[in-house]
Amino acid sequence: MFRFIFTLLLGLQLLFGFGFVGEEGPKIVPVQKAYKPSVKVEKDKLRIDIKMADKVYLYKKYFKLQELSPKKRTIDIEPFLPKPKKLHGEEVYEGNMSIFLPLKLFDNGDVRLALSYQGCNEIGICYPPQTKEFTFTIPTQASTLTQAGQSEEQGIAQTLKTESWWVILATFFGFGLLLSLTPCIFPMIPILSSLIVGAKNMNTKKALLYSVVYVLAMALTYTIAGVLAGLFGANLQAALQNPVAIILFALIFVALALSMFGFYEIGLPASLQTKLAKRSDEASHKGGLIGVAIMGFLSALIVGPCVAPPLAGALIYIGQTGDALLGGAALFAMSLGMGMPLLLVGVGAGKFMPKPGGWMEAVSKVFGVVMLGVAIWMLSRVLPDKITMVLWATLFISSAVYLRALEQIQTGAHWFAYFKKSLGLVLFIYGLLVFIGAFLGAANPLDPLKPLLQTQAQAVQTKPLFRVVKDYQEFERIAKNSSKPLLLDITAKWCASCKELEENTFSDPRVRQKIGEFTALRLDMTDNSQSDKEFLKRFGLFGPPAILFFKNGKELRDLRIVGYKSPEEFLRILQEAKRRSQ
């Protein structure tokens, strides 16, 4: 309708001096001169300029862009077109126009494009549709850094560069809260609880104080270790994952456990106590706090060496800018976030603590067992699975024995005696299962009979998913000769997130099947050797877990995975890697 009215108006307007063009009338501009398109690569964008002659315009709706090579496909140009003008009821462009297209719309390498457009001359004719072809090369630099977007931790590093202080601190605190619900933090919960339970004269206020000190010590340690890692590329936490440090730490827990059992009391030497404070109860108080701080420090270093995207992002930022202040503040905020649940646990433990006496003793002993569990958990990083499993079994069975599960209950005993025996029996049976599991080849004390439950077919299927590489040279050799897309998993026995990946993600049948389409390599850096460190340095990584994807020996940097990913998220990234590698 409107078009009709417009046409009518146009007709009336042109009634005078309207006639044929080209013959006697004004000279008509041929289409080649009417529109002169050209392309140029500008940073991460492709710029298309169209110079237009006088009185000439182009219709918005007729713009069409096709990639002819490397792939043949249509690219939706519509969202990138500038704001049009209205002319005769149509959306058009006049004069000179520029279109900016992100390079990530195109495939890498030499690209051939066909741009189609159509328009008219106000003189009274419309040009036939035109298609122009262009070729250009996407620089590889751009393709790896900016064109293809960013991986998660790069995005976080970018946030640090652009956002304001408060936003950064709040964001990282949030990241920390999220991370607090991962296996990186879990082991700290029994440690802190044990410290609180083990201390004398505990009350809610004191428990809160202990928790705050513990969390602050942990956060400070994380921050310092992080800043050092960012500045020097050295991973202090990974460095401490050697058998000596781990065994020492495990021994500390055994010692704490024994003191919980009441064999002796741990306190600072008397000479040190008097130096610290005049009054002796104040001294033990301060001594206790120092002990808690030391435990916080050690826990952060040894218990939870977890690399997650926010941590890696902050480290990248520090490494790139040398700005240890902002990077460190971000890490500190993140660590505080991670510590929040610990505060709750600590206060809870303090609040519901029984009065000194029979009950208190029982609770202390339970926590003693928990401490021993932590010690075994630590040792599992350096001991063979079989021995770890036997240790777990021993822990369960001896707990049962101490609960008098194997002794007869005297007639007329308190109901609690029955309860204790039942609980003890359950522990005993579970301990037996773990013991059996140890010899069946199970590695997870939570799932001791897994090897029995696997059918023959599954056993065949569980052939190693990854091919282990020793060093970079070996990796490079395989990468060069691989016809399939390549995936590299970096893992270590002491890395909690790696274990999570292994148990949830890599065991998923869909993931296993998809990984089968890749040449899957694995670097196990449990011993953190010199060659392992060099390997990490080559890729600017700070530690496990990390999963990298390669196409023709070049890393698809934006797909890099740092930290834990659920099977669904991981599958999505695998699919994208597969698609991009074709």
Partner: protein, 134 residues
């Protein structure tokens, strides 16, 4: 309401003055031979304001439409159809005038014109055609 009024106007125009575009090139040649008329080819495309002006205004003018009806075989072609017949077009609209053998009798007319100008041009072409034939 406005829609209804417009419909009535269009209906009146259609009823008042009209000629029918011939279906296809072959049919046009056949009619040209039978009725001894030259073919008027209009090369058109969508979203061409001048084409729309010609269709909706100029060719709806009684004097022009009567003349086309009586003295020409009107044939409308798209750009690609025209190209396949060897009729080049700078743009649209472009008018070609062909005899019954399909050969051009004049140079192409590029662009549009008012009914009056167009009619004068048509008369000129028609007389040249008659002259040629004689």
């Amino acid at each position: 309401m406005r829609r209804v009024v417009l419909l009535i106007i269009i209906a009146l125009m259609v009823w008042g003055a009209d000629f029918d575009w011939v279906e296809g090139y072959a049919k046009a040649l056949e009619l040209a031979k039978k009725e001894h008329k030259p073919i008027m080819v209009m090369i058109s495309q969508p979203n061409c304001p001048t084409c729309e002006y010609m269709d909706d205004v100029a060719f709806e003018t009684e004097s022009l439409s009567d003349y086309v009806e009586n003295f020409f075989i009107p044939l409308k072609l798209s750009l690609s159809q025209a190209r396949s017949l060897g009729l080049k077009a700078y743009g649209t609209p472009t008018f070609y005038f062909l005899d019954a053998n399909g050969s051009k009798i004049t140079r192409a007319l590029v662009g549009g014109a008012t009914a009056k100008t167009f009619l004068a041009k048509l008369q000129e072409i028609r007389s040249a055609y008659d002259h040629q034939k004689r």
